[in-house]
Amino acid sequence: MTLRFERVSKSYGDVEALVDLELTVADGELLAVVGPSGCGKSTALRVLAGLETPSSGRVLIGDRDITGLPPHRRDVAMVFQDLALFPHLTARQNIAFGPRVRREASDEAVRRTAAVAERLGIDGLLDRYPDQLSGGQRQRVALARAMVRAPTAYLMDEPLSDLDAQLRATARTEIVELHRSIGAITVYVTHDQAEAMTMGDRIAVLAEGRLQQVGTPAQVYDEPANLFVAGFLGSPPMNLVPGGGVLGGEPGTVVGVRPEDLHLDPSSTGDVPAGRIEAEVGVVESLGSETVLLVRCRDATRLAVRTVPRSPYRPGDRVVLAVDESRRHVFHEAGDRSR
């Protein structure tokens, strides 16, 4: 079963939230949809869920056109950013809400609720109300409510954004593992590029309602299709310098090099060899497992350099940088990749 956007557009008055979105999610795939806030990623998900009607275009599950179907006939389950647990119902009632209101056989619903709860490790919490649960537990209840439906596709709208960083990392792994074992399509919307990179089988990058690039994490990271993708993915982001600057290139282009593809060359102490960049260390950001040097070149261009932990460099030190030529990205000034 695949899931497909066919030239889907959505506008609110003059605001174009989605423009001609053309995107296919493969069977069993976890597609991470990433982009800055207001890029249309949530709109895309809501169109998929049936909570918004597209202005034009079609949405298909397999060969079935679901564009006009109401949300509950689409066989999708959604996990919302604020989780949307019913505050007046216990965890158990929240999970069994769908089966109950659809008047499904109650012993079957009870069995499925128990099975899902056990799988997520919340079977001891089922009689608590949402406000008696921790953030992580609430998040599991929301996940369980989606899973009890056994849908064709899971739609997740930044479900981890309310968790603290440590819990978020664990939850990420858990969701990926659940996804693998369930095998249903998952569309995971996030603004966090690290989350998208670590979770997605493929990543779709959106900006201003338009799909910028879709591909595996390695593809979008190593071969960004345009300046936006290059600048959006990666932390710290790619160094982008107009052509003819310290990173070379023709005028009219923009040259990009990721911080980890700039290497410190400790051997050159005297004259700077051709192709090397001389710079002065401005800020040293020690992140434990790595160090990021923010340096300033002779022509005042600022670059970020990723280097080893416990770097000996201090602000004011002179450094010489070598560019990994095979990892130089060149873009047209207008934004698209030139090579």
Partner: protein, 300 residues
């Protein structure tokens, strides 16, 4: 030394600084003079033959015996009971209905909300005078409309049930406070809850039953209790202006009867006893509501 005392003080709320008492003083004086003192006096007068001018002899349970045998009191209690039974549900349903209708953002929504609140700022007396005209059987607009569509035209204020219903109709309009409370509570419910429900196939009608009302429930219980207390007391002005307790004691609500006894018949002692009865009746009704709420598991 003084430091440690300060710390000790901060920890025990009983030894609050003197300025705290100063801030409390206006309220304390008000509560004492306007609530506690009258309450104690009422309790005392209830067992005397005080007329407001003279007397004040302790008469034991005489007033209570009189209360039990008093047909006017029985009628008054009945009138108040019917009033609460009609007015509280109607006012609550009206407030909730209007609030839910006007909760969603819409063009000109604020003007509708102002309109819904407006009767609440109209003084009771003005509203009562307005309803004297509205309910006039000959030239009142209500009967003209009823007559125009071929419905019976009741003699509103001159028939017992007409008068009771008339008073309730008037009080169905000043519902602004409950309206605002429900509106605010409804607006605080995340739209995601409705979307989550829509994904399970729950349409608007069932959303009301499965989401909106259960989440509003604590507030609704509070409003029902509050309105019960209010309706037992606020029926005074409309009754006094529209019906003066009649016809046939149909609107001789407890506050009206208390007023009559105290200031028309100079039966201060006896009216104090009726006041105690009103307080008792209020407590019984509120307790019944609380018990029903528990029994029906309205709250989680």
């Amino acid at each position: 030394m003084s430091d440690s005392v300060g710390v000790e003080r901060a920890r025990t709320p009983r030894s609050a600084p003197r300025s705290a008492w100063l801030f409390l003083l206006p309220y304390a004086v008000g509560t004492l003079l306007l609530v506690l003192l009258p309450a104690v006096l009422t309790l005392r007068y209830a067992f005397t033959d005080f007329t407001g001018l003279s007397g004040g002899r302790f008469t034991g349970l005489d007033n209570l015996r009189r209360l039990v045998d008093d047909p006017f009191f029985a009628a008054s209690l009945r009138a108040s009971a019917f009033h609460v039974a009609m007015a509280v549900p109607l006012r609550l349903v009206a407030a909730v209905g209007v609030a839910l209708l006007l909760a969603a953002p819409r063009r000109g929504g604020r003007w509708y909300r102002v309109a819904a609140y407006l009767p609440t700022v109209v003084p009771d007396i003005a509203l009562a005078l307005l309803f004297l005209w509205v309910l006039n059987p000959v030239y009142g607009p209500l009967n003209q409309v009823l007559g125009a569509v071929g419905l019976p035209e009741p003699a509103w204020l001159s028939s017992p049930w007409g008068a009771r219903v008339g008073v309730v109709m008037m009080l169905a309009f000043p519902i602004g406070e409950a309206f605002v409370v429900v509106l605010a509570t409804r607006r605080a419910i995340s739209p995601r809850l409705y979307e989550a429900a829509a994904l399970e196939g729950i349409g608007p009608a069932r959303q009301l039953r499965h989401i909106t009302l259960p989440i509003l429930a604590p507030v609704l219980v509070l409003l029902a209790v509050r309105d019960t207390v209010l309706m037992l007391q606020a029926s005074f002005v409309p009754a006094y202006l529209l019906t003066d307790g009649g016809p046939a004691r149909a609107t001789l609500y407890l506050p009206v009867y208390i007023y009559d006894q105290a200031f028309e018949f100079l039966g201060f002692g006896y009216s104090a006893m009726v006041t105690l009865a009103l307080i008792g009746f209020t407590l019984v009704l509120v307790a019944a509501q609380v018990l029903l709420v528990r029994r029906w598991r309205v709250l989680r």
